[in-house]
């Protein structure tokens, strides 16, 4: 068992075109470090310093991790993490 991570089109250049990859870890932070070993550069697109970038939404199963624990959110085998580009903008 592992943690499935679903990758949006815009980031599939980091996964050789794969829509989903697998990783391991006990927190989202660990999981992203684990993924970065196999898919160099992916973490940098999702994380800025210690925080998730505002341009992406990361979900654990059905919940936005911003409402859980951000990068410290616990994850476990069998979970699904979904990454989507945030859709936002405006005149400001």
């Amino acid at each position: 068992m592992a943690i499935e991570v679903r990758i949006p089109t815009i980031l599939r250049s980091y996964t050789g075109g794969a829509k989903a990859v697998e990783g391991a870890g006990t927190t989202l932070d660990e999981l992203l470090n684990n993924l970065d070993a196999a898919h160099g550069g992916l973490r940098e697109r999702l994380v800025d310093g210690e925080k998730l970038r505002r341009f992406v939404n990361v979900y654990l199963n059905d919940e936005d991790v911003r409402f859980l624990g951000g990068l410290e959110t616990p994850v476990k085998d069998g979970d699904t993490v979904t990454v989507l580009p945030a859709v936002a903008g405006g005149a400001r």
Binding site: F55, D64, G89
Partner: protein, 158 residues
């Protein structure tokens, strides 16, 4: 060029007028690779703001999953500017991350006339494109039914 059915074009304008003075936003999904918008999906603006919009993250997850299940992609991503022209702002450009999408901007700053423009935004570069409004129903196959309700007219206060 963006080719869009008149009924969908009108739905975008109707949504933008309804939410004015807040910005309205949404997606028109279409079959992957078809470049044809067919399914209108108005989204909540989680910011409820006259100068900013953001898709509600939970609603977005549900809509994106649904598109995935239907082999669809966001063909059009639209939002309105309510006091300025229908041109992508720096914020719009920095967030744009669907290179295959048509980014539609609608301006409702004028009460009687709605600006409707479309752009490609790839790697921070904005290219405006012509908009062709098709009389066919979404997807273009069956002819526009005669018993369809008449096109929605944007109410004018003049």
């Amino acid at each position: 060029m963006l080719t869009i059915a008149r009924s969908l074009y009108e739905k975008i304008i109707e949504h933008a007028r309804k939410d004015h003075p807040d910005e309205a936003c949404g997606v028109i999904a279409g079959p992957i690779g078809s470049d044809t918008p067919t399914r209108f999906i108005p989204m909540q603006n989680a910011e409820r703001s006259p100068t900013f919009y953001r898709f509600d993250s939970r609603e977005q997850l549900m809509v994106w999953r649904e598109m995935d299940d239907n082999d669809e992609e966001p063909v059009v991503i639209y939002h309105s500017h309510t006091a300025t022209q229908a041109y992508p702002s720096r914020t719009d450009i920095s967030y744009a991350s669907e290179p295959q999408a048509h980014y539609v901007l609608v301006s409702t700053r004028d009460e009687s006339e709605t600006e409707f423009r479309s752009y490609r935004i790839v790697d921070g570069e904005v290219t405006e494109e012509p908009v062709s409004i098709s009389q066919l129903s979404p997807g273009g196959r069956p002819p526009y039914p005669r018993n369809d309700p008449p096109p929605i007219r944007v109410p004018s206060k003049a």
